[in-house]
Symmetry: C2
Subunit: 370 residues, 2 copies
């Protein structure tokens, strides 16, 4: 199908690929629903009951636009992080915020540095605005801080993207390592610190960073530990001058009434968050043990998933496919050499029971195929 | 506050203004809530009870990402419009879709044509991507089709934006006029036909347009007649080649689970839509009569609002302010000469009772101030 002739040259040159295929698409292809949904790092424990109640109440008043300034949510987030609303910017998920950040900072031919195999949606946005993503390999299971810094220096990168804890490997750097990275950052670079999984991280892995520090923008989400992936609410923490620029380009009414109400109520229920984090740790342990019992090496994780090393990309791919045909949705890293792994979301016991039942036959199939 | 030095030159040059100030901001400034919310063309009758129920059910499962392909919603919309899913693209409201469309089609220095005083968010996006909005005046209370066409021809515009029915004036063109416009469109121009208010339009005002027609993209929303402004769901209808390009740049998980569920259920309740449209017509009549009784000339409307001519921009502005201090939120056109009018949303009887009570003293105040 030839492109529409009115596309810009940039838009015409973009690939037709998308960052992720949704599990619903896989279900439609297979003709049946997954019995266990363990691929998108969603929280199977669900949102806080208080958040559910708030969203249900808000549903009846959804004829009103959401507050385009997110006043109450922004104030609550600022309070939560010990800062002022000017240092917090909510948005349509980290994905949406990354898109706005890239748009604001990267002109065509500008460079962003990231790890090869790190979050594809960041690379999607960089390409989408005509900029270039310079990638460096992981160092084993970790993002390579020194290599990222060197690449930023070498390329004059305006953005350096790092997730801590990391996705898709689940590993983390100590807070001190991140602080050292910030101190060594080239003057022309902004650290884009994706903390989507920070709620699950052990003590000492999440650095304290002054929200006004002009060298860093951090990203948080309600999609993971808060169990609100289907709402799409994330937020940035960072310097006020940078965050205020988001107002110049964002979709002002994009964060709806129900989304704001749900996020606000979730933030107000730390007990539920603690419950989910505890249950997630239990589930991580079970997945790691299950993998180890069947010859897959679990990589220590500070997230709500466990990445298991299958030894080869072929076996990893076949294991994913064999699990899918047995009703279990998981994902895997897309880029070599990470692609020798599979990534399994920490889910509640019933979902892991299903995983435990089908992993052995799936692996047996994956290891005997050629 | 100096700009962040990492902004692109385009981002640095954008004004800090936003398209609309939310009523919540005005309420915070005033220190009290509006008693009647008649400024944002929201539907005070609320969403369909079926949509409320669907959103409430979806709230409990909001730990799941929404389907990034919107399969069910897209199929239902295609069925509703007698076309195929390839000709329908849902998104985060018409605002979000306009942003994507502008991004896909307008490179810096490209031109879009629109009426002076038409939807500010379209102009916001055009400026936001470094393109130029060429405006032509309204012809009386109507968008001037001939002048828009001439401007598109003269400037080589890639986009020609027209709302039918129109916002902020509420007027409409006959379907035949729109079809003639399409036939006379320069080959380099795409008609962006904003049909946000089409559900309220009289017979003969909404043209039948082949969704595959490469000259037109139409935009519809669940924010108005469906009473779901707080969900933010809109959709485009147009040529498949153009709509498929949206996949290259959109926020794939941006339309959440609750949003998709609510929109789907609303679409499945045409009786509620018909009820709202009937009640809206009744409310329009009441607002027009009220205005006329107090010396304001109502402009015939095919929307869910009535624009009343106050005779001068100063009186219009003072009337708006005098209504706000009396607890009634309305808006007004921002650009001369339309700014001699105020725009009042058709709301349910209790809201109009409040309006009826405070309009006379507000007008008296507005007319005696100087």
């Amino acid at each position: 199908m030839a492109d529409d002739p009115r596309l810009t040259s940039l838009a015409a040159a973009l690939p037709a690929t998308v960052p992720f295929t949704g599990p619903e698409t896989l279900e439609r292809r297979a003709g049946c629903a997954f019995a266990a949904r363990l691929g998108a790092n969603e929280s199977g424990w669900g949102p806080s009951p208080a958040a559910i109640a708030a969203m249900q109440t808000a549903a009846a008043t959804a004829w009103r636009y959401g507050d385009p300034e997110f006043h109450d949510l922004r104030a609550a987030l600022a309070d939560h992080h010990g800062t002022t609303p000017a240092h917090v910017m909510p948005g349509e998920g980290i994905d949406g915020l990354l898109g706005l950040l890239v748009r604001l900072t990267l002109a065509p031919s500008d460079v962003a540095v990231m790890s090869a195999g790190a979050y594809p949606t960041f690379a999607f946005h960089v390409a989408g605005f005509g900029a270039r993503a310079e990638t460096v390999p992981y160092a084993g299971h970790h993002e390579d801080v020194d290599a990222l810094l060197a690449a930023a220096q070498r390329t004059g990168a305006k953005l350096l993207y790092l997730a801590n804890p990391d996705n898709p490997m689940g590993t983390w750097h100590a807070a001190a390592t991140i602080l050292r990275l910030i101190d060594r950052l080239p003057a022309h670079s902004l650290l884009v610190l994706d903390e989507a999984y920070a709620d699950f991280a052990p003590a000492g892995a999440v650095p304290h960073i002054d929200p006004a520090d002009p060298r860093v923008i951090r990203l948080r989400t309600f999609s993971k530990a808060h169990g609100l992936a289907g709402l799409r609410v994330g937020y940035a923490i960072g310097p006020a001058t940078l965050l205020s620029a988001f107002d110049r380009v964002r979709n002002h009414f994009g964060l709806g009434l129900i989304a704001q109400a749900g996020a606000l109520a979730a933030l107000g229920d730390p007990a539920w968050l603690a419950h989910v984090v505890t249950e997630t740790a239990r589930a991580r342990h079970r997945i790691a043990t299950l993998g180890r019992d069947h010859g897959l090496a679990p990589i220590p994780s500070a997230t709500n998933f466990v990445t298991l090393d299958c030894g080869s990309a072929a076996i990893a791919a076949r294991t994913l496919a064999a699990l899918a045909t047995r009703g279990v949705f998981i994902r895997k890293p897309m880029v070599a050499p990470l692609d020798r792994c599979i990534r399994i979301t920490a889910g509640p016991p019933p979902a892991l029971d299903i995983l435990a039942a089908v992993l052995p036959p799936a692996l047996a199939q994956a290891r005997t195929q050629s």
